[in-house]
Symmetry: C2
DNA sequence: CCTTCTTTTTAATCTACCTTAAAGATCTAC
DNA sequence: GTAGATCTTTAAGGTAGATTAAAAAGAAGG
């Protein structure tokens, strides 16, 4: 009799026991297939092929197909949350609300486009999940959304946002612009830096008062690129 | 023996023969299911339920499940193309590039959120289609994209765009912001007008030079709402 | 090398769904 | 009102894919 799923550890690259690494490989494979085939189209045999093992082996690590897919879905956002949070907290304490939004835009975009299987899986399938799977995903999504709610609210309190914007709609438009990037970006057709710069500019000018947008731009020229690469305090 | 699929007519509401209306009902039902269940999850029995008939009846109108889904996919964008084109050509000849973008934003958004089954179906499933189905869809998508390519290019030629933007990335960001609206907009949580206004403002300020953005805003205050509601010349 | 625990595989079951076949129902025009 | 066309249904067939059972293969330790 197989023991329970081996202690799931490191959400990071690897490093765990062999068993933990196999589990992670299956999860990655599932994200890969899920992003391309959709919830209903994700076959365990395809996941198994991608992970280089036989379909029934998956049951040693996950109780069912649904559990596997559920974990891919919420894991994707949960990791994004961690990443963006880390980047934001690595910013200098005096970074203004618009600089923080710039940093969040860059962090979201880079993470999304680097770890694109998970992100694309989440983005494309969020609306197609059965209720039971959606619960945990929605919770993580709300948590992540709160980051942005706060980013926008802070800019608003500081009087940096244009008054003709509906905050919720504005926030969702920004997230839409960012999320959609996974659908069209192709490393061969333009550098990631270009995408990030364009996104930051659109978001900054899209949200801020003209005066604030220009101020932030010049301020960012020295501050933001540094902040963007910082990971750990 | 059944004749060939009855002459497919009116892409509009209805009006055609009874047969044409049944066909349209099936197509609508397929869009409904496709948007919620995804490509692989779209079962003919569900489509049939939604269209209030039995699954095999679908085969009287469509050669196969794939053909049905393919048609939903490309039809969605093709109609969007027609709609946006109509709105743009109804604009006064002296409408500037930014006004035209404003109008396109409104047209895209209103159509998307009103006919949301087709749009959501396209958006969510574009990346999950098998090759053969994707061909026609991609062709229509490119055609529609050309509208926006031109809108942005015209604004650029007129010197109204900020120079720090990559045109392709900027265009895709805008489309992403718009497309994503179908994922979050809820009529009960905010009016469509609010969403449209916010989107127009973000796009205008997101793309244009600060000077041009402000100019366009005041000009639009009289011109654009009228143009927005115009349908036929 | 033999035992035990972990991991992976092969073989078999069971269900869901697309599709076809054939028969019914409805409609139209003489 | 009845022949023929149009449309719709009921009744199978066949296949693919999740899951379970049971056996095989590794790995760790003595």
């Amino acid at each position: 009799m197989p023991g329970k799923p081996p202690s799931k550890d490191a959400p990071e690259g690897n490093g765990g026991s062999k068993s933990a690494r196999t589990r992670e490989r299956i999860l990655d494979a599932a994200a890969h297939v899920l992003s391309r085939k959709g919830y209903a189209g994700t076959r365990l045999t395809d996941v198994a092929d991608q992970a280089v093992l036989q379909a029934p082996a998956i049951y040693y690590y996950f109780p069912s197909r649904e559990d596997l897919i559920e974990e891919v879905m919420w894991t994707g956002i949960a990791r994004m949350y961690t990443h963006v949070t880390d980047v934001l907290s690595a910013l200098p304490a005096d970074a203004g609300p618009l600089s923080r939004i710039d940093a969040a835009v860059a962090a979201h975009l880079r993470y999304e486009l680097e770890i694109s299987d998970y992100t694309t899986a989440s983005i494309r399938n969020a609306g197609q999940l059965p209720e039971n799977i959606r619960v945990r995903y929605s919770a993580e999504a709300t948590k992540y959304g709160d980051i942005w709610r706060k980013l926008v609210a802070d800019a608003g309190s500081a009087g940096l946002l244009r008054s003709d914007l509906d905050p919720r709609a504005a926030r969702m438009m920004v997230l839409g612009a960012l999320n959609w990037a996974a659908e069209w970006w192709n490393p061969r057709r333009g550098s990631l830096d270009t995408v990030v710069r364009t996104a930051q500019s659109i978001v900054r000018h899209g949200l801020a008062t003209p005066q604030a947008a220009e101020d932030a731009k010049t301020a960012a020229a020295t501050r933001q690129p540094r902040a963007d690469k910082a990971r750990l305090p």
